[in-house]
Amino acid sequence: MKKKTLYELFIKAMRITIAQLLLAICFTSMGYAHDAKAQGDLNQKIYLQVKDETFSKVLKQIEKQTQIRFVFSSKLIQSTQKVNASFSGEPLSKVLDNLLQPRQLDYEVMEKMIILKKVGNQKTFSTDVLPATIIKKVEPIIPAFAVTGQVTDIKNEPLVGASIVLEGTTKGTLSDENGRYKLELEDDEKKGNLVFSFVGYDKVVAAIDGRYVINIALKEAGILNEVVVIGYGSQKKVNLVGSVGTVNVDEKMVGRALPNISSGLSGFVPGLSAVQASGMAGRNGAALLIRGLGTSNNSSPLIVVDGMPDIDINRINVNDIETVSVLKDATSSSVYGSRAANGVILITTKSGKGMKKTSLNFSSNMALELPTKAFDFLANYPLALTLEQQRAATSTLANNQRYKNGTIDEWMALGMIDPLRYPNTDWWDIIMRNGALQNYNLSASGGGDKSNFFVSVGTKKEQGLQINNDYEQYNARFNFDYKLGTNMNTGVKFNGNWSNFVYSLEEGYTDPAPTNTAGFDMQYAVAGITPYDPVSGNFGGVMAYGEDPQAYNPYTVYVNNLNRQQRKEAYTTMYLDWSPIKGLKGTVEYGLNYYDQFGWNANTPNQAFNFQTNSFGSRVYVGPNAGVSNNTFSGYKTLLNGRLNYNTNIGKNHEISALVVYSEEYWYDRFQGSSRNDRLYPTLHEIDAALTDIQTTGGNSSTEGLRSYIGRVNYNAFGKYLLEANFRVDGSSRFVEGQRYGFFPSAALGWRFTEEELFKPVLDKFLSNGKFRISYGTLGNNSGVGRYEQQSTLASNNYIIGGSVVKGFVNNKLINQFLSWEETSVLNIGLELGFFKNRLTAEIDYYDRLTTGMNRPSDLSILLTGAYDAPRTNIGNMRNRGIEGTFTWRDKIGAVNYGTTLNVSYNATRLEKWNQFLTRGTIFLNMPYNFVYSYEDIGIAQTWADVYKATPQGAQPGDILRKDLNGDGRIDANDQKAYPNLQRDRPTTFVGLNTFVSWKGIDLSFLWQGSTGRKSFWINAFNNVNFSTSRYAVTQAHVDNPWNLENRDGLWPRLGGSGNNTATTSFWLDDMTYLRLKNIQLGYSIPPRLFRKLGVSTLRIAGSAENLLTLTSFRGLDPEKEGNNNNLYPINKSYSLSIQVGF
């Protein structure tokens, strides 16, 4: 081995996990706990009768009687010397004298230990082993036996901190900076085995067999030993026959400034789309969708955390997560049959299993957040009014226009000197701020033979980009397992979290609810309003002559109209398992989820102030009778499940395992809300602090039950033929009797063809692993049906008689007695390949997923829809076909480790059956659900000649001209074109590229993510060319882009032109394709030696940036954003610094 510099060695050591370093510390400190006073031990009475025994056997017998251990070097005792002795109740001191003196041995007593030495030998013990007090007197113990050696990798590079443990004991050590180790063993331990392990490497068990030197080269762990978490268990990846994607939450994931795990999954698993709709603090979770839109009902995957379904993925502490498994096909998810039609996301939290010793970890992550792209409202009121004039001039004579030239001139002049009275407010600047995300987490874990634990507390604080949009969450977790006996275990998992959320409107800047008529008022935030005057404490309103008093002051809303929400959740599960015979294990598990959410608002009264006239305007933002409203949502869910696992090997080559599960789930949810007008004082905010004259209340509850029977059989023959069969029967209380139960079976086959001796000579050269797998099965979904929807009930519809409310009941329901589960059948064909000793791995999947009996409101005659809700019926079929691939390359060049994973997925959604009449629109047979359907434009008419040449459509120069696609001489809805391969809501193709390079302690990683196949109209309330003739907040684009005679190349049609200019024309149809540098992270793991005195074993510092760069041609806010085009909340770009320390 070549000589290495210390520095290099430390870099090498960086690859050691925290756990291993902790192990190292623990081992080096062993023995400190001893105590030197134990003379009383010598008075114990000894009864012994030996004849021709070896000396060590005699000592052993004494050890048994006294519980005192003898420590000595084997050299001190000749094994051939036989002992004959008889003691009956003599004190130990006497017995020792009797035995030792003839052999010229002396002894020294420590608590429960007697050290044998040669008489008169003054050589000292190693300071590591014994305290100084006895060092002077005692001869060093020359260990009975010591194994030394070196642990390296296969390239002969030493591995620092590899663990060497005597099998079946806690006795062990760690390799040093040169990979060397020394382990002292008792005589009788010579026949044991040593277990060499190092994270990321395959474990090696070596028999000592009396050897003094054992050098071991560990092989880097290939995919061969990778274990994947699946429903109700885990499985070696090589034996997996389903399609499962895995994300390990490692220090790199923790190093990212992620508000939640859902948004962190983007780009990691092919077929899983994780798309954020907003960067709003508290509402920035990503919408997860596996393999396209499976149904027109809820198509979100089922989230299962530690065996408990229905947990809010966004409330889980990212630091607590060990792995995330994405179950994509029927086989892997069918054990969750009923609600697994859209895939399952399994999250496993950390435990202390196999850790032996306790470790303590602290991590912190602080991020600065900026918008990826923001809006640019024009902070120039005179210019905005001029645009209003231009817009009005298309239809209104100058005299009749609203805004007068004098007003504009006055504002231009005085705006420069009197910003209070003539403001040119830059709203975006006022209502935005730098966002921040702080995440602190402290955890401890450990384990032993009997038990293991993981505890963690975490806090997350998000300061949104919008003022007064704050979210904070506290998490605590306790996972504990305990071995009750040799064949019985119990354990408990507890997670509690608590959050505090403040926001103004539901989407931050906007609110799409039809009940909120002011939901998109941001478009009315004119620059001529002073947000707030700290001197007088007044909030500004309109002041310009002719301005509409309803113009919007967003600042007052975001300051005075805030919603607050506190949510508390607790999830607990407890299990008990018992293995009465080998291979059989019974488990009972009980889980309880509880939540409680309290929301309140108490708006602060304020009124629009006119600083020019020094008087209040008519607009009362919040009236003096402002009240308070409270609402409470609470509920719980229980899960009881009992399972039996059986594993057995028949002969050497047949491995069978079976699982049966019975499960019950029960939900209970309730709501209660109340509000009162007239708060007694603006600062008070509880219901009792308001008058009682005007108040409202509401409350209700609902329950649901689900009963399931689950079975699974796995068969593995010769390590190459794999078979799996599953079924699940689910009964749901949502359906009427007779339709409650759904049966969802699946089966899969796998063939590890590289294990075939026949192919080995050919394949071995390049293919190290190859597996073909195919699975088929059905899954269910009941999400479209309401809890009581299938019960014939009367709904209240009250009336007023004689001035008072009277009871009224109506029948809204026509029940479809045959409604049952929506079924999805999935065919999955997969190929897994590992080339060049698994440096290159590829996993390719093809799937065909057909949802049948899609549960939809039936097509009801208009003669009935006015009275009855359309009963649901199983009518539609939706097919998703797609292909996914993951390609990973990992290698090492000298000290540089690098790897890259590319994952690509393509999905085509087709609506195949819909027994309902489909009118012209974006839903049609054999097309994607909500496909692109658009008028085609031929650009902006430059001249009247252009207008006359085109089909008559009421256009003028400056208007968009549309094509008469069907040639009937007029433009109407029939002239829209359908795009069979483009979707409005979601992309068809996703790409993720994850690359890392590490060199010594430095690691660098990039995550690129992109998608294509989606087009959408870039039309919203804020780029309207036909804006209202008053109070419109124009943007810079309204100045630059509209067509006019001086700007014939304008990107937009003229202002105030034809109403068709804002129609869904290809003119506004933008390609949402993008490629985004989702994350870039640079980390440095500082050599622990520098901090060892502080007890620090690992220290990693990382700088990370999210969404740093986006390449797209989309003109709107963000191409990744889903949902409402009017939602103004940008997606965050963030820069963060994370520190992870282990003790």
Binding site: P549, S615, L640, R740, L794, V810, L864, A867, S1030
Partner: protein, 599 residues
Amino acid sequence: MCVTLQISCRKNLLDQDPTTELPANVFWKTEADAVTGLMGAYAATRPCFDRDYYFDGQGEYVRARGTSTTSGNLRLGDAYNNGNYDPTGYASSFDKMYRYLYGAVNRANYVIFNVNKMQAEGTTASAATLETILGEARLLRGMAYFKLISMWGDVPYFTNVVYENTTVAELARLPIGQVKDSIMADFTYAFDKLPTKASALGRATKPAALAFRGKLQLYWASWNKNGWPELKGFTPSATVATTAFTAAAADFKSVINNYGLTLYLNGDAGQIDTLGGADILPNYYNLFTPKANGNSEMIMVFTHGGTGTSQGEELMRDFSGRSHEGSQCWVSPRYEIANKYQSTVTGDFVTPLIPMNPTTNSAARTTLNSAVNPKSYDNRDYRMKSTIEWDYEKSIGMASLASTGLVPFIYQTWAIAVTINGVKYTTYNTDGCNSGYVFRKFVRNYAGQGRSDGDFAWPVMRLADVYLMYAEATNEVSGPQADAIDLVNKIRKRGNLPALAATKTANKIVFFDAIEQERIVELIGEGQRSFDIRRWRTIEKIWGGPGTAGVWRIDTYGANQQRYYQNTSDRTYQQNYIFRIPPTERDKNPNLTQNTPWE
């Protein structure tokens, strides 16, 4: 397993009962159940009628620039949602109204079926009570079908409770005559069974059923007299018309004479404040505020509840501006209505107003007959001040359920500070009016209720309307009759107008004009005008015929606002006379025919 964890092992895990809804099988047992069921039917019928004021936008005197309706919420006006309330091009936008009128039919059918069943199965409920309930349900069903035929002509007709879509999915339209006869049967049954006086405000009465029967016959007579060429298969008949007019007149006459009904406060005009004052308002104004709820002029109403009942009307939200609890002024009077208000002195029309722009013409406020000179509005029909506000008229502003004092309306100003006679005011704030007038009718002049919490009982049948319909019916049969003229004069008296001059009652034609004039002024904002225009077939008379220049609507400043019927095709006129059968339903139902101009 279950023994160890009993808390979770639930025997009836899959049988979960609803907590706020009533299982249907326990209902329809008692008299109270029947009443409760009937109330459900009332609540379902109300929202098909209580925003009829939007329909006035299809006439020439009211502009409905939009609605305050909430999509998807029937109680909050979904039936009217998405409707077009312009004078032309509207008739294809009432699929929702069609849908909810049938909703009301289903609700009524459900009550009728179950009450019949109760009767048949024997019950402790009193027979008379059940018959009254049946009468009310049949009246409601008749009203729904009546509205359906008056908009769509022939319509599908069914009276049974529907359990499955297939029962009605392929129903064809029944000729209007047959539907009319069935409605007559419902109204007649209701007339027979209902009490003379309602047990409480909100329950239907005998005169209500009778008035509706009269109105149905009046409409039937109008269609037969004037024709309905857009309705395929309908052959008008003058004989039928005369019979129907006669029958209508008889029903109206009975309503007028036999039930002791009087106009509000005996039709007295009441007091009126000076120009600009708003303290004393005529009786006609008060009639349309909740203060007048329950008076005998309102023959049939749909009631509403105030704050906290979740049953409020939104009249204020639609009819007034931001100064009034943040209202939205969706509905406003057009400029052209002003000249319809006659002089209390002459009893005839005044010199037409002259629109003038005060921002460019400093004399505009003082010029004689200038539309922006408040003096031009002196000595007018009391109903003018009760109905509209012109420049410098005031109303009570309100915010946060409290009064903010008087707000003067000054067109083209929005909440600016003004000083009038030394008193400082903030002007009426609305961006919703483009004529120079806003409504006062239906706008409360006292604070305390939000814009969606009105408790006004919306009239669907009013005695003044019955008077005018009686006058119309008798005039059609036999020309101006003394009792009819007297009734018209009673209504004019409410506006403090003198009786009609002899020239106005000289013959059938001039008397009809006088009746129409009163209908315009008296019933403005009550959803009658566009139905009158269609049954009288007078669109061409108002807006000019096909291919003409059309007619501008202007404002008090003289600015052109909107022009209607410019170079309009014959087909568009036809389409404005009959509504379009919902095409989505025709796509599904092969037997459902379309009205001629919509084919």
